[in-house]
Amino acid sequence: MTFINQVVLILNRDLRIEFRSKSLLLSMVIFALLFQVFLQIVFDAKTQAIQMIAPGILWLPVLLSAMLGFNKYGSAERENGALTGLLVSPIDKGALFLGKLIGNYVLVFIVIVTSVPIFFLFLKQPFPASIGLLLTTLLLGSWGFVAIGVFLTTLAHSSSITELLVPIMIFPLAVPLFLAIIQLTEMALFPSLGMGENLWILLLIGYNLIFTVAPTFLFDLLLEV
């Protein structure tokens, strides 16, 4: 079985489990929408002031919803020794990581697809200046966040404070990612500010590469943790 086949196999298996119950996906989507509404209320968003905080309001529900999902995704593995079964199966550990990463990404992508249109609907926001840049940012940015999230959650599963430790680890490490996606989103939403976007996209791609490739090779080691 080739590496790609193994990735697809893990992905299929995880998504089938996830889509059968749908409870995680549904709660992630609902949480993102609710948080979107919540942010609009707490910031009392007026159209004039929106330029300052719009990228944050767009991203926060997605990021937090993804964060809450990391711990629960694959929680079925902890029951009935499923994880042991998975580990003794002749699957490359790197393929296991990529499969989990893509599965998580699919869920986050569905959150984005529902949450971002709602953002535009609530905000009475003019149509984004560059929809291509916005899409690129959403796809690349959420990939990087999910990659580092799956990586660190796997590391932290043995901790006694996993739920708290994961955000404490992710937020400082993801600062470059946050800066890049907020800058790019601002450029995508408002026409006048566009400059230096290639630099940020390069940073995003570099960040994604580091946190996708390194764990793929290190996952063997991490699973022993």
Binding site: S158, I161, L165, I168, L173, G196, L203
Partner: protein, 228 residues
């Protein structure tokens, strides 16, 4: 065996550190001239910059010791990493506090977001606080060591990314605060370099003591598991 030389080295280093720190205090408080515009507040630099050097040296050691631990699985490297990380967090705290004290009268603000070095120091502090949290919250020795080593490596690799992204973030915006010039009288430069040297010796001394403590803790644990 290294054990034989440990105690004399410890004594010598403690003595040397004591003398160096007294000279450092004298130089930074009396020998170095008072700065024309900032006045005495500028003397904070002789504590701030050396602390930053120590913090960076400490985190570099965490990184190297992490790699060595994963490579050799020798517990000594892990003891070195945790000792170094604790000292690094301590000195990063000193850097942040002294920086704020200096910035309040000079920049008229406790904190600014425009300097990549400030933001990087703060993020660094959070990363290694997370590192220490990992050390206290993970059960199982082998597990904790591996987890900490991986996080120590990833955290260190992330630092330049943070630095450059903050730099780009702020160069797109107008720059409010400029760096102060590097020109300084010879006495100031001498004091600064001596302070850096003294602080690095202080760091090595602290590291040695902390490392010995960590190894002894390990030995006690092993003996306890063996006989109790």
């Amino acid at each position: 065996m290294m054990q034989k030389y440990l105690n004399p080295t410890k004594l010598f280093l403690t003595f040397a550190t004591g003398i160096l720190m007294v000279i450092q205090l004298y130089m930074s408080l009396f020998y170095a001239p008072t700065e024309k515009y900032m006045g005495h507040i500028q003397r904070i630099m002789y504590f701030h910059v050396p602390s930053a050097f120590v913090a960076f040296a400490a985190f570099t050691i965490v990184f190297i010791a992490g790699i060595m631990y994963l490579y050799t699985k020798n517990k000594k490297w892990d003891a070195l990493a945790v000792s170094s990380a604790e000292i690094g967090v301590l000195f990063t705290t000193v850097v942040l506090v002294t920086g704020s004290l200096w910035a309040r009268p000079v920049w008229n603000a406790w904190w600014v977001w425009d300097d990549p070095r400030l933001v990087t120091a703060l993020i660094l502090w959070f990363i290694y606080i997370a590192y220490l949290l990992i050390r206290t919250s993970v059960a199982g020795d082998e597990r904790r060591r591996k987890f900490a080593a991986v996080f120590g490596i990833v955290g260190f690799i992330d630092v330049p990314l943070v630095y450059f992204s903050v730099k780009w973030w702020r160069t797109i915006h107008p720059k409010v605060i400029d760096e102060q010039g590097v020109h300084m009288p010879a006495e100031m430069a001498q004091t600064l370099f001596f302070s850096i040297f003294a602080f690095l010796v202080l760091f090595i001394t602290l590291l040695l003591y902390r490392y010995v403590l960590e190894s002894q803790k390990e030995n006690v644990n092993e003996l306890r598991n063996k006989y109790l």
